[in-house]
């Protein structure tokens, strides 16, 4: 079973609209990463969240980690064609130190002009 569940798995929005992608874990998250991937290409680091309640923004993308540290959301404001791609959440569910990441299944985002 998937340790990290992302929703929705696929999302089609009109350019200029806002959207939210969710990432839920059954375990406490010690570090939650958001990456963007173009099909067949590398993972582009977006943000990392570690503290419950933490919120980070970069340009039009905002990510939050909930207080209980088991869910994160990625919000894109006024979406643009350049936002299209696959968004992956990755989680460090270890205790401390250098840890492997487990990933959600990804959310494929399409932006219609």
């Amino acid at each position: 079973s998937q340790e990290l569940e992302q929703s929705p798995q696929s999302l089609i929005v009109q350019e200029g609209k806002n959207l939210t992608i969710n990432c839920t874990s059954s375990k406490t998250l010690y570090g939650l990463y958001w990456y963007k991937q173009k099909y067949g290409e590398g993972l582009i680091f977006l943000m990392m969240l570690q503290k419950g309640g933490e919120e980070k923004s970069h340009e039009k993308i905002t990510a939050k980690l909930d207080e209980k540290k088991q869910q994160s959301s990625l919000h894109i404001t006024a979406s643009q064609p350049s936002h299209a791609g696959i968004y992956l959440c990755g989680a460090d569910i270890g205790i401390q130190g250098a840890q492997k990441l487990v990933f959600g299944q990804g959310t494929r985002l399409t932006i219609n002009p």
């Binding site: 067949g40 590398g42 993972l43 680091f45 992956l88 130190g97 250098a98 840890q99």
Partner: protein, 113 residues
């Protein structure tokens, strides 16, 4: 800024051949991670190294081995290749004493014929 470098970017092999993938982490990063991403799948952790020692092991087949060298670059050696080994192989690096953010390389696309 320098990123994670992987080589080769593309590799085509026949069944039962061997392959070596290389990863050059971001300068001063001390930890390297290897992930495998099959078609339509999320990345799966294979193995990691911290300060040239194996730090964690995931779903890496016995046919694969890896090491980290004194200059911190890492190599993933794959023998007796099978069709199912066709995938994108990502290397990521991080600095344990820092924010521990994992930055990914562009990946090596391995195709086994």
């Amino acid at each position: 800024a320098a990123g994670v470098i992987q080589s080769p970017r593309h590799l085509i092999k026949e069944k039962r051949e061997t392959a070596t993938l290389k990863c050059y982490p971001i300068p001063r990063h001390d930890t390297v991670y290897w992930y495998q991403q099959g078609p339509g799948q999320d990345p799966q952790f294979l193995i990691s190294f911290y300060e040239k020692m194996q730090s964690d092991k995931g779903s890496i087949p016995d046919r694969f081995s890896a090491q980290q060298f004194s200059d911190y670059h890492s190599e993933l050696n794959m023998s007796s290749l099978e069709l199912g080994d066709s995938a994108l192989y990502f290397c990521a690096s991080s600095l344990v004493a820092g924010s521990n953010e994992q930055f990914f390389g562009p990946g090596t696309r391995l195709t086994v014929l």
